[in-house]
Symmetry: D2
Subunit: 411 residues, 4 copies
């Protein structure tokens, strides 16, 4: 089970640095909103996680353990007081250089500890730390995108080399596939790593349903806009209509309309790819769109039941472009489950029957957030390789739009 844990640790830690490479210290200092942590903070927090939950148990204490414990604890009340989330952008010191030194200090200590032999419970926490860092890699990208987006110069995270060639007009097959459901097992059986919120595996009754073979596209979304979708309260949940009015939503986050539609992306401002999946929409928008289309969002059980019947196509974010791409022309059946955009479901994020939090501070990892959020399934262009699986439960609040979020219809 923990074969090659050192190699996976090293690979994950290196990928984080690779993601940070195109950015200046100033780029990684900015926190444009409470939810969009500075890049530098992610670099530090993911290191602190290994120190707090593993190395500290072994008696290791980094040079600046005390202030870092305060500065880089995200939300663990068991650990103690911490820098408020909305004030992470104020921490110009420690500098980026000091944070990178801290990462090396942790890397060295952890690899030494693994070599010396860790007991299974700590090895499990190393594995959790690796998956934790992969989650923060995705957040790093979404936060950087948001923070850079607030600059009126539309700066690019990466230069735009081959973006145009990737565009296509493939419109998807627009068909929905029938699934019979029944009394089925949902959740993870723990033969490999999973987060606690995917457990326990349990029985759910699902009535027969149909699920779209592909994702809703930007072209579909323009139809919704132009049919007055953002002006018709009868399509919206009341809470959604309220926030849409307050925030004056007229299109997805990052879109601009001049003579044509553009989207701000990690490559700067780009013409909208009509055939690509719509991205950066809230649950409220997804729900309104589905109602407008005469359909609905699938439940998470419906999504998982369908997805569990196929293998996870390899996520592509490590070697491809960081914008969602259209469905490939030569594919058939249920597509785009992983690697494009997270897919909002109709399911509020609550505990599975029999859910137990993990012992210790990591028990705060998932359980305490089970209120007011919706489950998203699949994975996105920002998700690390080997991170996605059919039982994975991502979750965000219904008004949030800065993640790589889209939708797949059901009925």
């Amino acid at each position: 089970m923990f074969h090659n844990i050192s190699q996976r640790f090293i690979a994950t830690r290196q990928r984080t640095l690779k993601l940070a490479a195109p950015l200046s210290e100033a780029d990684m200092q900015v926190q444009a909103e409470d939810f969009a942590s500075p890049g530098k903070w992610h670099l530090a927090h993911t290191s602190w996680f290994f120190e707090e939950f593993i190395l500290q148990t072994l008696g290791f204490k980094s040079l600046l353990a005390e202030p870092y414990r305060f500065l880089f604890n995200s939300y663990y009340d068991s650990v103690g007081q911490r820098q408020p989330q909305n004030r992470r952008g104020l921490i110009s010191r420690p500098s980026l250089k000091e944070i990178l030194d801290y990462r090396q200090e942790i890397d060295h200590a952890l690899l030494t500890a693994i070599d010396a032999g860790l007991d299974p419970s700590l090895l499990k926490l190393v594995e959790l730390g690796v998956h934790h860092e992969q989650q923060h890699q995705e957040l790093f990208l979404t936060d950087i995108l948001y923070n850079l987006s607030q600059n009126p110069l539309n700066p690019a995270y990466l230069t735009n080399k081959d973006l145009q060639s990737m565009q296509t007009n493939h419109a998807g097959d627009k068909t929905l596939q029938v699934f019979n459901g029944g009394l089925v097992n949902i959740g993870h059986d723990q033969d490999r790593f999973c987060f606690d919120n995917e457990m326990p595996m349990h029985q759910v009754f699902i009535a027969p349903y149909r699920l779209a073979n592909d994702l809703v596209t930007n072209a579909d979304w323009i139809d919704f806009i132009e049919d007055g979708g953002y002006q018709n309260p009868l399509l919206w949940l009341a809470d959604g209509w309220k926030v849409a009015q307050q925030e004056q939503w007229q299109m997805p986050l990052y879109w601009q309309k001049n003579d044509q539609y553009f989207a701000y992306t990690l490559y700067g401002l780009q013409p909208l790819n009509l055939a690509a999946p719509v991205c950066h929409i809230s649950f409220f928008e997804a729900d309104a769109f589905a109602r407008w289309a005469g359909k609905r969002l699938p439940t998470e059980a419906e999504w998982e039941f369908a997805a569990s019947q196929q293998t996870v196509a390899e996520s592509t974010s490590d070697n491809m472009s960081y914008v969602p791409q259209p469905r490939l022309n030569n594919t058939q059946g249920l597509q785009q489950l992983y690697g494009d955009v997270w897919q909002w479901t109709a399911s509020p994020y609550v505990a599975y029957p029999g859910f137990k939090t993990s012992p210790g501070a990591v028990g705060e990892y998932n359980g305490k957030f089970m209120n007011g959020q919706y489950v998203l399934r699949g994975s996105s262009i920002a998700t690390a390789s080997h991170h996605a699986r059919a039982s994975y439960r991502n979750f965000f609040y219904p008004h949030q739009r800065w993640q790589f979020t889209g939708l797949r219809l059901a009925e």
Copy 2:
């Protein structure tokens, strides 16, 4: 099905006036928070409902139909623009006298119409209007309680005649009863009136569970307080902890502690009845209490499955006191399902599989609120007679406390 609809209409309309009788026009003018509508507004809105959805269809137009349509529309976007909810307390004119005249005008018109013969779809809307008014009777009491509570003089809605004699020290039997669950039917089969959100009846799989025979009491809650329940973030959902800190929650709404505990009630400030069910707690507090007690909240399906195995005990709010009472000494088994306090469940308020909104503006009645709220089951001391049933789905936001809300434990 609609036998005696006139009598039920008359009885319901009269009960509303009876509830308003102890109050002055000034008492019914106040709106202390956005959510606590003025008493006078409830009197007008419940009348407008009959005009808008029934009488208008028949060509009837009240004397002041146009301004009232704006002033007393609650949330129906299909109907048009309206007075914002948080500004209902500003409407000193029309006066209470004018609103009472309006009620008579509507009563006369509706009874005349019923006598002349209404087609079944309109008769169904009359029945909906009666149940709608019963819901507002409960809101009338909870809003009046809240609005009067903001007066530092602790004024009483009713004088306190026999309250002390009702107090008892019965502590309940504290046992949990086993239910086997399985693949069961949940929801209403429409043989009698129900709201759209109780439909359709559908299959749900429930694992075996245990449900408390009685409600959590004020004495239980004091144990929670004195064990530091309001100071320990590890007991709370993160969103709940945040609101508890912001609002500085230390005890249920309306409680005061001097040398002993008191609660502000519809009878003014009263010593706390330790054996009575705890009331005016939020979902967040109920959830934290359950975790502290090593238990959990039941799902709405678990509650309904258990409750559907017994008949609805007659609600007592029309002829008894308007404070929750302790469990009777001579009872056994599952008790206090109805007529004391609404019981928070662990279930977010979402659509049942296959849910369809009603056609027309009344389609906005329930469906658009299916976000961010939790289902409560049972009924309370403020619920009208003949209003409760096992499939009834009440719903409020998890931070709200001004309703008559308590909890029953499960595991």
Copy 3:
């Protein structure tokens, strides 16, 4: 000096009741914004003032002295804790009837005390209390106007009998009169009653200046609007521009424009009288208008120096209409100093050199408000008879518009 103090007390108390007569208890319960106290509160507070500062000294204690001391203390920290200003509208009890009874209780006690003989310092406080109540009479009218204005039905405080006949097209003479100024005395010499903030009389040097003979009219203001006055930031103080944008000011408070201009008044919505003085403008608007007109606002010293050279024309609010009227056709020279609209000056409200607060709690009457406000001079249609004088210093914040405020130009 205190001849006839009983008669003046009685007359003032009666006028308050006369002002309240057209209103229901509900009308006097509403508080639409923090600054607009309920009518009922004014009735109670002006009575409490006599109890707190005079009767209490004599050993008198009203039936409900303790709660009323909390409820109806406006801002006297020396007196103790109090109901927050923004929550005055929540006090439905005591009822209007109880407040009117309280007024009678105070009236009787105070008149008895005067008859029995009061020492001079208390007689001075009675006189202060009378002037205090006159100030609240004006606030009563401005607050009622504001509170009723928030009702979309545009209800009228008084019925509109002779309003149309009062309208005229006299445009004023638009000339400015020269004053030489010099080293002059400003302030009150205390031969008769004045507030502490008018003292001490002191020397001020004023350079020669010119002051407009009449007030800026509604017709003038329309010119400002139509010349883009509300769209040009270069005319405005930075703080004023900010509030004008936030509040989306496009015209004075209470104005509406359909095919023509209307103003909401104490007589309901009325066509705008073009020749009448503009009213319900903030200092920021007055200042911007003056800059647009190539003029400026006078200082308070300039206003007082000019006004002190003429006698106070009898204020007309007791027997005339409660809307500002145009200048009379047959008048010459400096006009409209009193009885139409308060006139914003360029002078921040600060202490005169050598200013001393009165001893005791009434020392909080004026002095602690000497920050951030501007002085207004003259009086308005809502000011009581015999209340105005050349040295009177009224003061409001520069963004406030709900008083009867206009302007007179200088250069």
Copy 4:
């Protein structure tokens, strides 16, 4: 008059770079509150000022003139749209390197233009630009102090070399000196550079007064604290008391009390120097202190009249420490007018009689801020050499504390 303008320009521009030298790009990226602009922004804005108001007139256009005009315009509505003040910290690009390059580009262009010969009106604008940059040097230091202060690590701008040796226990002479006042001239006569708000020179009548020879010290302030100054509303203006309660003021900004008092400074957290002038207090606190001391704040005319009778002692900020120092032991008479802390006066910041704004966009420099602020006189440890003079009018809002502000008593 403009002899050596190039040298003064060069010296000023170099001092700005010297002030920035101890800071990283991240340190200069942070904006902890709306009012505390990032260091990098100051470097750019002071350069843009020369381009916008001088070089552009000459046909010069920098490489990135268009985006910089939007990004680095502070508040000039005449110039056009701009980055909102509270979002200056989001601009991670242009980078610090690009801003430094921009400074060089502007320096070169301006020096070339001066060498080629500028007409007098442009030379006056160069001089204005130099004084403008000196003002921003002070803001740079106060903003950096504030932005670093929000880091819980208490980072130091400069290392603390000789601070302890500077401390002393000299308590000042505590005497007040008599000035006779009379009808005097106040304001600047324009024989040398001054800002428009210092003009025109005009006559003011001042009654005889007394002015303290030295500044209120930290030891004095501790007496105020320990006598309950922050707990007694009767010492405070009402607006001041409100903000003091909301912000929970218990001591000056940057003070901490453990077993003894400390102050956060540009040298990090330091023990409080009791004999040094109190610093980082608001007008409201200064006013409350003066009332507590049985004194008052001087008017700006009183301050200027006294100060104009002596020459400006050379400001010391360029070669000494950046914390206020105690009065020197061997001095007599009126001391500490300049170079320690700005001194709050009782005078609201308004236009002098006859004030005219400058033509063009620089007319927005001072005039539009003449509302709601108070005048401060003197200069501080952060003020550039040759920048102070007796007629200088600095101004801030009465609640602001992040400047180097203290007080001198009068009576």
